[in-house]
Amino acid sequence: MTASANVKTFQINGRDYSARAEETILEVARQNGIFIPRLCELEGLSTVGACRLCLVEVKGSNRLLASCVTRVEEGMEVTTNSERLERYRRGIVELLFTERNHVCSVCVSNGHCELQFLSQKLDITHIHYPYRFPKAEVDASHGRFVIDHNRCILCNRCVRVCDEIEGAHTWDVMGRGIDARVITDLNQPWGTSDTCTSCGKCVHVCPTGALFEKGRSVAEMEKRRNFLPYLQLMRGDQNG
């Protein structure tokens, strides 16, 4: 098979694009400057299709498809923005706000938060669902980092970066549905974890203020993620 046979030609929002067969709709969109919202996907980590914000419409399919896990196909006609998609996306973000206790004004990530950015981008001014106000703990037992479950949206980025890039697999998810929580080791205080290397990658991939550096004041936690694609490349070389 030649290399050219692996190239697919398709349409996004009525315009023609071509990409390699293993690329996802989200990757192609990003390369071409087309905005598709997402919170769980992050370049350099595996995709899980968990947040459902990157849903797109594909002609011929009744279902909406998560663009982060859907590969491009020959002749595919993708729509990244429609009234229906907007409605769903807004609903998803609103539900995220109701699920835990997100208070932007006093959050360490105020002004640097992906959830906040998305809600502004989607023009969310009010939440139309009742808030749950769960009682969620703050674990500050680690010497350098803090996890505030009030701000966690269960995107799993911390779980993936710890497993796939750092190789420590300190983080995991416990419980089901609304009771799900990210945990360290066997659901023990982070500071007592044997596996955590204190590398801080989880903190920097976290889209919100759920994971942050100790001592940061309000609006001071800016996340740096440029290391990810580079690290993935290096790990890939070692493994390959």
């Binding site: 004004s105 703050v138 500050a140 037992s141 803090v146 505030d148 001592g215 004041s217 309000v218 609006a219």
Partner: protein, 476 residues
């Protein structure tokens, strides 16, 4: 037939927060008791439990939109105590300027926006006109001055902190950003005009006080203790210093008190009829330990201000009465003198070359599990007291707010004014307004003081002992 009645003023207008006043009348229509009820509840001391201490300054600043800076300062100082660090000198000076800019804008708000309608239009003016717009019609220059002066303070806060309300610039260990030369110059450039306005307003105020002799005599004119912060040399202090308590004879009852030990000498009592706690001086007990804080108290206990023009005004102010100045009506003038001092002092601090130092933050992990921060807010002494666990999470917090410390005196003042001005069983707007005006002299901030939630207006009821409402006047 017993004919006791109660008058309820609900809500009280042109103050910051929600409250009502009840006046209890006897069968002759004379006022026998009066209460100032704060009807909002906030719960900040409780909701901060479990939060990382490093979030506390900004979290606590959300208590109030008028004086977020005061809470930022006191909270950050409590956090400095938790870190057990000495903050860099430039950060110390920048915080001082920040605090004084807050005092200027808040005092301007109190004098011009809230109280000047009473002073310019008179206590008996039509309530519909008794606002800043009414002042605009009568004395446009004064109204403009007020707005300009508040803007001056707010712009300094914005230049230093990035925004006017709830800036997150003050952090444990100092401030997050140094001051740029351009911003320093811009603030210095605006000072002469502000100074001019302050001087002009004081001379205006001294002229109008003559027409308020009756109010001066009855507006909280009684002996009490006064508490304020002073520097080591006895001059007035806003950011840091020792506490001093003086009495009505201008004798010092206590001096050199460490604010960090406030709980040794200040107590708080809860009354069932108000969400606002009443603070008192412990050695004198409750309620005899009633004391006042804020501009009048600060000027009563301070030996001097420390800047030229403010000291001249202070000397003249102290001539008003032989010993301590007792009438709460004089809070207004004290406020204006402080405002003048703050402008002069900010200029001094800004011309210090160290102010532009880039070293503005001390970094440390918490080294103490308990910390107290105290500073002078516009309305009086403010205490923030936190205890944290091994991981730096707040486990306990106590705040003592200026308005709570004035609570006993405000209640006494309302009673005094009501006894003097409220007659019979027919309510007059001017009578109600005086009851409110005495509260305004204290410039209470109720959202702060109850660490509380709301809309303001005014309702006064005359209630018979049977519960029957005899008369009612309401303001929209």
């Amino acid at each position: 037939m017993a004919n006791n009645r109660t008058i309820v003023i609900d809500p009280v207008t042109r103050i910051e927060g929600h409250s009502k006043i009840t006046l209890h009348l006897d069968d002759k229509g004379e006022v026998v008791d009066a209460r100032f009820h704060v009807t909002q509840f906030r719960g900040f001391e409780k909701l901060c439990e479990g939060r990382p201490f490093s979030e506390m300054p900004s979290l606590m600043a959300r208590i109030c939109g008028i004086c977020p800076v005061s809470h930022l300062i006191a909270s950050a100082k409590a956090c400095d105590a938790l870190l057990a660090v000495r903050i860099p000198p430039a950060a110390d000076k920048l915080r001082r300027i920040f605090n004084m800019a807050q005092i200027v804008q808040s005092h301007a708000l109190s004098v011009f926006h809230l109280s000047s309608p009473d002073l310019v239009l008179g206590m008996d003016a039509d309530p519909a006109k008794s606002n800043l717009w009414g002042v605009f019609e009568k004395d446009p220059q004064l109204a403009r001055d007020g707005i300009r002066l508040r803007q001056f303070g707010q712009q300094i806060i914005e230049r230093l902190g990035g925004k006017r309300i709830h800036p997150a610039w003050v952090v444990p260990g100092g401030v997050s950003e140094p001051l740029s030369q351009a911003d320093r110059d811009a603030i210095l450039y605006s000072i002469p005009e502000a100074l001019q306005i302050a001087v002009r307003t004081i001379s205006w105020f001294k002229q109008v006080t003559g027409s308020f002799r009756e109010e001066i005599a009855a507006f909280g004119n009684f002996p009490s203790l006064f508490l304020g912060t002073v520097k080591e040399d006895g001059s007035i202090a806003f950011y840091d210093g020792k506490l001093r308590i003086g009495d009505a004879t201008a004798t010092l009852v206590a001096d050199g008190l460490s604010p960090a030990r406030y709980f040794d000498y200040l107590g708080e009592k809860v009354e069932s009829w108000s969400y606002l706690k009443s603070a008192y001086y412990k050695p004198k007990g409750y309620p005899d330990g009633m004391y006042r804080v804020g501009p009048l108290a600060r000027l009563n206990v301070a030996d001097r201000c420390g800047t030229e023009r403010a000291d001249q005004e202070l000397a003249e102010f102290k001539e008003l009465q032989r010993a301590a100045i007792l009438s709460s009506f004089h809070y207004h003038q004290a406020r204006l003198i402080e405002l003048l001092y703050c402008i002069e002092r900010m200029e001094q601090l800004l011309t210090d070359p160290e102010i532009l130092s880039k070293h503005v933050r001390a970094v440390a992990e918490p080294n103490a599990q308990e910390g107290v921060g105290a500073s002078e807010a516009p309305r009086g002494t403010l205490f923030h007291h936190y205890k944290i666990d091994d991981h730096g999470l707040v486990r306990w917090a106590n705040l003592i707010i200026a308005t709570g410390q004035n609570n006993l005196a405000m209640n006494r003042s309302v009673l005094q004014v009501a006894r003097h001005f409220v007659r019979g069983d027919k309510l007059e707007p001017g009578m109600l307004n005086r009851v409110e005006a005495v509260i305004r002299t204290y410039d209470p901030c109720l959202s702060c003081s109850t660490h509380a939630a709301g809309q303001m207006a005014l309702r006064v009821q005359l209630v018979a002992p049977s519960g029957e409402i005899v008369d009612e006047v309401a303001r929209p």
